[in-house]
């Protein structure tokens, strides 16, 4: 269990606004208190993580303790971003969970191949989504120990 799990920022990369909305709602339904940040595509995600571009300003991009990653995104899709993240000397430590509509075996395989921490196919129903969030919360913030955040600053 991580100390002060509530302080962890969860960063979600999702291009679909409705999906973003639904996820936020599911979050709330699941009573996750964590801050949920959104980026809309892979480029924004990398900018956020690297604190570049529009996230150049300090404090505009608090380091996430968990990344929820959609694979199909414009500009830079999740697969590329994942690759970049997991090959980055600092960023690779951040747990990444792919949350995508694609249930293609190839995507699953590739993602794990690149070092993704887990892969979740987006549930079709809202309830399903809420369940996923609850489970995520339990798993990542209550069961699992996350790497300490302090040193990376």
């Amino acid at each position: 269990m991580t100390e002060d799990a509530r302080a962890i920022t969860i960063l979600m990369a999702e291009d679909d606004p409705e999906d973003r909305m639904l996820t936020k709602e599911a979050f709330q339904e699941a009573r996750l208190a964590n801050e949920l940040r959104f980026v809309e595509d892979g480029e924004e995600l990398m900018d956020y993580l690297r604190r570049e571009g529009k996230y150049a300003q300090p404090d505009s991009a608090p380091r996430p303790g968990l990344i929820l990653l959609d694979l199909n995104m414009p500009k830079k899709d999740g697969r590329e971003a994942l690759k970049e993240i997991k090959s980055h000397p600092e960023l690779h430590r951040i747990p990444v969970t792919v949350l995508t509509t694609s249930e293609a075996e190839e995507d699953i395989y590739r993602s794990y191949d690149m070092g993704v921490n887990s892969y979740i196919t987006k549930p079709v129903t809202f309830e399903g989504l809420v369940d996923v969030m609850k489970t995520l919360k339990k798993y990542w913030f209550e069961i699992v120990d996350l790497p300490p955040q302090g040193r990376e600053e």
Binding site: D16, L22, T101, S102, T125, F126, E127
Partner: protein
């Protein structure tokens, strides 16, 4: 030919016979001649001896006759005429004999003269005798001592010397013997005449003849070479000396006028005795001379006899020799005849054999020509280029197709040339192709067949073309004598292959595009569906209370519709993916696949209380994923379409791939087909629809009765067809159905595009 040989054989026989006869003749002739010579020699020698003797005798007798006549004339005593008559016929006989023996001495004028002289002398002597008879002794003396008489005597003597000219030894000896005898008589006569008449003129006559006698005796001794003769001569000599002594005394007495005493001396016993001794000696001398002559004669005779004997001795040898030869020849002839006969026989056989052989040769030649023509026809008719190489790699034959392919007009341009250097010298990329690496050469030298289709051959004009070739070594017995190369210009084929590759590429690309499109499309299509579903749920969750019953109903239907759409999209995607996501064929154990499918459907099976029986299922060349899809669909259907209240019983079994006989036909595959049957005891269907059920989106029941999009069987059919197989169904409504998938056991290319 045979006759010639035989006649040649006979001729020698004749020849030999002739030679034999000739030899006999020669031998006989030689013998005869030898004998004749011998005889002749003997005769001649005897003759000559006799002639000599006769000459002596004649001379002597002539002198005796003269003496007799003169004594008669001197004494008047006619007893001398008796003596004369006694000796006269002897002289005639001797002369006749001499004439017979030596006619040549008596031929010619001299002989005639001698004859005439002789007649005259006889005439005168007869006249003298007449005169003496008439008592006219003095006239008789005058006649006999006349010049005429002396002249005739000289002529006669000359005639005799002709006779004496034949100077052969034994003739001379005989002559000398005669001379000696005659001279001795003359001397005696002279002495006795002197004693009788007291006429001193007889003494010179005596003295004249005396040396002649000595000379004759000496000559005789010298010529005789015989001891015997010498001894006799010596004896004669002694007597002669005594007689000479006495005759000399008588002459002394006559010269003293004491003629009576002289007569006494010359007619004394002692004188007679000495004369006898002398005569004896003379006759012994004569014998000795004869012996010597005989000895010579005998020697000659012996010589002749020897030659005859040798000739005679030779005859039997010759005869034997000739007999042997003859016999040998006879045998030879027999052998020759035999051989000739055998030869004839064999020649006959040979001729027959030859005829057979000729016949066979003709036949074989014809066959060979035919076969040759066939081969030539084959070679010229075939489209494949064929050429032959010897161990050096030089061309030994090539067919028209070969020439054409390589762009040569004439066989001569290619025959005998080293083919690697002519047409196989460079690789397709332009690098030189050394002959040591040439695959054709390596192969046939090692006695191995070779085949290649990645090399080029070079034309006469210079360009190259891709060729596929096969090279086979040519063997005679176990020895490699060359090779045969056939090749094809595969330019077109290569082009076709290229194009095929190209098309395959494009197909692959197209498929990829399609897949991409399909997945993207499905993804993008599904996204709104998700939203509909998601917000529908949300609506239901949050505002269901706010909705009316109808409202809730509508919402439900909307949500249903959207899920159906999702299913449809998924199924469409699956259907498309039968092609786009086709995996390469590999050996798939259908039993294993079935096990997995059943494992996946475990929950359903249990839930339905279904019984599934799985028979022996083979392993076939197939796409593993698609086989799974196929079986999942079929078994799923079997479970889904069960009869109410009847637990489904599903049987899955297969007919063996060996069952080719029943399944052979167009499209028959090498390994045959296997039939997999999935049968159930479900609701079944009207067989009217058995083809329609495999069409996409075809359903035989309302959407509400049994779930599903109607794509399941369409996907199954697509999978079966992709594998080169087929699917069919049988059913009895209310009883059950059987779905039969026929799939090839082997796929030609395990890697599908």
């Amino acid at each position: 030919m045979r006759e010639d040989a035989l006649s040649r054989v006979r001729n020698p026989i004749t020849l030999l016979t002739a030679i034999l006869a000739l030899t006999a003749v020669v031998v006989v002739w030689l013998g005869w001649h030898a004998w004749g010579s011998y005889q002749e020699a003997k005769t001649t020698t005897e003759q000559r001896l006799r002639i000599g003797e006769l000459r002596g005798i004649i001379v002597h007798l002539d002198e005796v006759l003269t003496m007799s006549a003169r004594m008669a004339a001197a004494t008047g005593d006619l007893r001398w005429e008796e003596r004369y008559r006694e000796f006269e016929p002897q002289l005639d006989t001797a002369i006749k004999e001499a004439m017979e023996l030596a006619p040549e001495a008596y031929a010619g004028e001299a002989a005639a003269e001698t004859d005439v002289a002789n007649i005259k002398l006889v005439q005168m002597e007869n006249r003298a005798f007449d005169l003496v008879r008439q008592g006219r002794a003095n006239e008789a003396q005058a006649v006999l001592f006349s010049d005429e008489y002396e002249r005739q005597k000289q002529i006669y003597a000359q005639g005799m010397t002709h006779f004496a000219e034949h100077q052969e030894l034994h003739l001379r000896l005989g002559e000398l013997r005669g001379i000696i005898i005659h001279l001795d008589e003359v001397l005696t006569m002279s002495a006795r005449m002197a004693a009788a008449t007291g006429d001193p003129q007889w003494e010179p006559r005596y003295r004249g003849y005396e040396p002649q006698l000595d000379a004759a005796i000496k000559e005789a001794i010298g010529l005789a070479h015989s001891a015997q003769a010498a001894r006799a001569a010596a004896k004669t000599d002694a007597a002669n000396i005594r007689l000479v002594t006495m005759e000399n005394r008588a002459f002394d007495l006559v010269s003293q006028g004491r003629t009576d005493e002289a007569r006494v001396v010359l007619f004394s016993d002692e004188y007679e005795e000495q004369k006898l001794v002398y005569a004896d000696g003379m006759s012994k001398f004569a014998t000795a001379l004869s012996d010597a002559i005989s000895a010579d004669l005998k020697r000659e005779q012996r010589g002749a006899l020897l030659s005859i004997s040798s000739v005679l001795l030779l005859i039997p040898f010759l005869i034997v020799g000739w007999l042997v030869v003859f016999r040998a020849v006879g045998r030879w002839e027999t052998t020759l005849t035999e051989n000739s006969r055998r030869l004839t026989e064999q020649a006959g056989e040979l001729a027959e054999l030859n005829r057979d052989l000729d016949q066979k040769v003709l036949e074989r030649t014809r066959e060979l020509e035919e076969s040759d023509a066939k081969v030539r026809l084959l070679l010229s008719s075939t489209a494949e280029a064929i050429y032959g190489l010897d161990l050096d790699g030089n061309c030994t034959f090539c067919n028209p197709a070969c020439l054409q392919a390589l762009g040569y007009n004439d066989e001569g341009d290619v025959l005998g040339k080293n083919m690697h250097h002519l047409i196989h010298h460079t690789r397709s990329d332009g690098t030189p192709y050394p002959v040591e690496e040439c695959r054709i050469n390596k192969a046939f030298r090692q006695g191995v067949e070779t085949h290649a289709d990645d090399e080029v051959l070079w034309r006469a004009a210079g360009g190259s073309f891709p060729a596929e070739y096969w090279s086979y070594p040519m063997r005679r017995g176990s020895e490699i004598v060359g090779c045969v190369v056939t090749f094809l210009d595969i330019t077109e084929r290569k082009a076709a292959e290229e194009q095929l590759k190209h098309y395959a590429e494009r197909l692959r690309a197209s498929n990829l595009e399609l897949e991409h499109f399909a997945s993207v499309a499905s993804h993008d299509l599904q996204e709104p569906l998700r939203k509909i579903q998601a917000f529908g749920d949300r609506l239901k969750a949050k505002s269901a209370d706010a909705l009316s019953g109808d409202g809730r109903d509508y919402l439900e239907r909307m949500l249903d519709a959207s899920s159906r759409m999702k299913a449809l999209i998924n199924d469409l995607l699956s259907y498309a993916r039968v092609t786009t996501k086709a995996e390469p064929f590999s050996l798939v154990d259908l039993a294993e696949v079935t096990r997995r499918v059943l494992s996946d459907l475990e929950a359903r099976i249990e839930q339905l209380g279904a019984r599934v029986e799985v028979g022996d299922l083979p392993a076939i060349d197939a796409d593993p994923t698609q086989m799974r899809q196929l079986l999942q669909n079929l078994i799923g259907n079997a479970l889904k379409f069960h009869r109410d209240g009847v637990p489904p019983v599903v049987k899955i079994h297969a007919a063996a791939p060996e069952d080719k006989a029943r399944l052979a036909g167009p499209g028959a595959r090498p390994g045959g087909f296997c039939r997999i049957t999935v049968e159930d005891n479900g609701i079944g269907f009207d067989e009217r629809y058995r083809d329609r059920i495999f069409d996409p989106f075809q359903r035989l029941h309302g959407r509400g009765d049994y779930g599903g999009t109607g794509m399941g069987l369409a996907i199954c059919r697509k999978i079966a067809e992709r594998h080169g197989g087929s699917i069919t169904a049988q059913s009895t409504p209310g009883k059950g159905s059987a779905f039969i998938v026929t799939l090839p056991a082997e796929q030609p290319m395990r890697e599908a595009a």
